[in-house]
């Protein structure tokens, strides 16, 4: 900026100071990086991605874009490569500082009870945050497509959706024609929490040939009295709670009137695949089907 000639001696430093202040302010407003307006749809695909939930981590890796991930949440443990990445806090409470530290240009999040503030803070700082829902299978397909688009690989997104759907269809076919069995999906021992209607887990149950005994309860994960369980008489109990297998069995030990208990059909499943709206839902559905209709899996599985 040219200065007026023949100014007094102290005009020069004052003007320089004003200029510096202006530049600094502008730089601060831009977030300190190269001047790119915030929230602009990137012309090129994001290079540094931070998924804040295990399910989105799995989706990103399933899309083949694991190399772009620079930080994951504490609970992200699949695939194995994810465990070697820097942690940026928990799924419930991500650490905004830790996210800043890895300088992402895209953050992927799932609505969780504790991360709204963190997501807002990230957005205010000018980082692009994409939130995908995970409540139903439809959410899952939409989520996969959204993530793929955000990563700039929409075709692979479609392919992933198709692959997972095919996996689910295979499970459905496997148990087709068999009488549906009444199933209780246990999420917690004490308090006794089950998967209700309208959840993704409920949908998987249905695909796996089961009839969720708690499907009529509107709440997603209601707490039931044990006598309600007895009354609904499930034929299979899938124990996907975080406690021990022995604990689950102890819970139902004396309740011989429940068909599942009488026939010993209390199956423990790892909660990891079952409760992540990610690419492994087909495996989860298969595990459920195996638990609900074990006879359908007696013969060796078809190759491929």
């Amino acid at each position: 900026m040219p200065l007026r000639p023949a100014a007094q001696a102290h005009d020069v430093p004052r003007a320089a100071a004003r200029l510096t202040a202006l530049v600094l302010l502008a730089a601060a407003a831009c977030g300190g990086g190269p001047a790119e307006p915030p929230r602009a749809i990137a012309a090129r695909a994001p290079a540094r991605v931070v998924p804040l939930a295990p399910s989105v981590t799995e989706i990103v890796f399933a899309l083949g874009e694991g190399a772009r991930v620079v930080g994951v949440c504490g609970q992200c443990d699949w695939p194995e490569e994810a465990t070697r990445l820097p942690r940026v806090g928990g799924y419930l409470a991500p650490s905004v500082e830790a996210v800043f530290a890895v300088a992402p240009d895209l953050v992927l999040a799932v609505p969780s009870p504790g991360n709204r503030e963190a997501v807002r803070a990230l957005e205010r700082a000018g980082i692009r945050v994409v939130v995908v829902r995970d409540r139903t299978l439809d959410d899952l397909w939409a989520g996969m497509r959204t993530v793929a688009e955000a990563l700039g690989v929409p075709a692979r997104g479609e392919a992933l959706v198709a692959r997972v759907r095919a996996g689910l269809e295979a499970v459905r076919v496997r148990v087709a024609g068999r009488t549906r069995r009444r199933v209780l999906l246990l999420v917690g021992h004490r308090p006794l929490i089950v998967a209700g209607g309208g959840t993704l887990q409920g949908e998987l149950l249905a695909i796996a040939g089961g009839d969720n005994v708690a499907a009529d309860v509107a709440e997603a994960f209601p707490q039931l009295a044990i006598e309600t369980v007895v009354d609904r008489a499930p034929e299979v109990i899938v124990d996907a709670a975080m406690g021990t297998e022995a604990g689950g069995r102890a819970l139902f030990a004396d309740l011989a009137s429940v068909p599942a208990v009488a026939s010993g059909r209390i199956v423990a499943l790892s909660p990891d695949a079952l409760f992540r709206a990610g690419p492994r839902v087909a495996e989860a559905a298969a595990a459920l089907a195996h638990a609900i209709h074990p006879e359908a899996f007696d013969t060796a599985p078809a190759p491929g």
Binding site: Q75, Y91, L92, P113, G188, H189, R190, P191, L192, I193, V217, E219, P222, Q223, L224, A225, I226, E227, T228, V230, D231, A233, A241, M242, G243, T244, A246, G247, G248, A250, L251, A253, D254, L255, A256, S257, V258
Partner: protein, 337 residues
């Protein structure tokens, strides 16, 4: 106006009435629940395999019985403690024992134990024992156990425990935190007759132990020196009552978490009706506390329909306003005369 003094006859009569009330309450509560179950079907030949039988005798009855035993322990300990401290507003959780039991239980839960596992009440009880030892030793000065000191150390224990529990909760996972909260808020869900029997025996022993000191506790109402001139071994009585009440509370909290206000409301109400003589008030509190908690838990089991409230929430809702009323009443009495 109540009788001028306590006779054996009045004691026996009152206890008999309360026992009948307790039996009726247990029976009624077992028949009440969100799910309909037929007693006739359960007792019919071959009924042992029916859902009715399972619901009544495997899901409900153990829980109702546990509620009775826990309620008895808490109320009995409360009556003894109120006499020991000379204060009708004392609650057994002031002792700090509950805090120790709660911390130990929470730690075990977060360390990975299944909430249904017997490790949790076991650890909690060990925590209770440890805390009793700490409070007892800390409250002794010069060979004398001061009620004032017991209270103060108890308050400190409670504060420490609250912080410890919050810390543990902060590092626990979401589901674990849920389980911790549920346990702490007080839950009687149990299907084990063995556990009920164990706690019942324990509570009976505690009741007998405390009853032995009932008369001495009466005399303590005239102050330490008044009691001594009447021949009471004040130090021994204080020690014995403190230990007995603490262990009762410790056992109750270990199996059912923190259920508040039972130990405050029940003895207080009964004292208003039956008088302060502990030879009557103590057994009456045991029986009355059992009845109270059975009904509070019945409310907790039914008010939300298919789901259930932790019983500690119900007692808090009942007890909180009641405690405020009590406080106002005693303050008004103290100032108005």
């Amino acid at each position: 106006m109540r009788p001028a003094h306590l006779t054996v006859r009045r004691l026996a009569l009152t206890c008999a009435v309360l026992l009948v009330l307790l039996a009726a309450s247990v029976a009624a509560a077992t028949l009440i629940g969100p799910v309909r179950a037929s007693l006739v079907a359960a007792l019919a030949p071959g009924g042992a395999a029916t859902a009715d039988h399972a619901i009544l005798f495997r899901a409900r009855l153990p829980r109702v019985l546990l509620g009775a035993v826990v309620g008895a322990s808490l109320a009995g300990a409360g009556a003894a403690l109120q006499a020991l401290l000379g204060n009708a507003l004392a609650d057994p959780h002031l002792l700090g024992v509950s805090a120790g039991a709660a911390v130990a239980g929470v730690v075990v839960l977060v360390a990975g134990a299944d909430p249904v596992s017997p490790l949790v009440p076991l650890a909690a009880f060990l925590g209770a024992l440890g805390t009793v030892a700490v409070v007892f030793l800390a409250a002794r000065a010069g060979g004398r156990t001061s009620p004032h000191a017991i209270l103060l150390v108890g308050v400190v224990c409670n504060a420490l425990a609250a912080s410890a529990i919050m810390l543990v909760n902060a590092i626990a996972s979401y589901t674990q935190a849920q389980g911790v909260l549920f346990w702490i808020m007080g839950s009687l869900s149990s299907q084990s007759y063995a556990l009920v029997a164990l706690v019942a025996l324990y509570a009976l022993a505690g009741a007998a132990w405390l009853s032995c000191h009932a008369h001495a506790l009466n005399l303590l109402a005239a102050g330490e020196e008044g009691a001594r001139t009447l021949g009471v071994d004040v130090e021994r009585t204080r020690r014995a009552v403190f230990l007995g009440a603490s262990l009762l509370v410790g056992a109750a909290v270990s199996v059912s978490g923190m259920i508040n206000f039972v130990g405050l409301i029940v003895p207080h109400l009964l004292r208003l009706v039956l008088g302060p003589d502990l030879r009557l008030l103590l057994p009456a509190s045991f029986l009355g506390g059992a009845v109270f908690l059975v009904w509070a838990d019945t409310l907790a089991r039914t008010v939300l329909g298919a789901s259930e409230l932790p019983v500690g929430v119900v007692t808090a809702f009942l007890g909180g306003p009641f405690f405020l009323w009590l406080l106002r009443r005693s303050l008004r009495r103290a100032s108005g005369g």
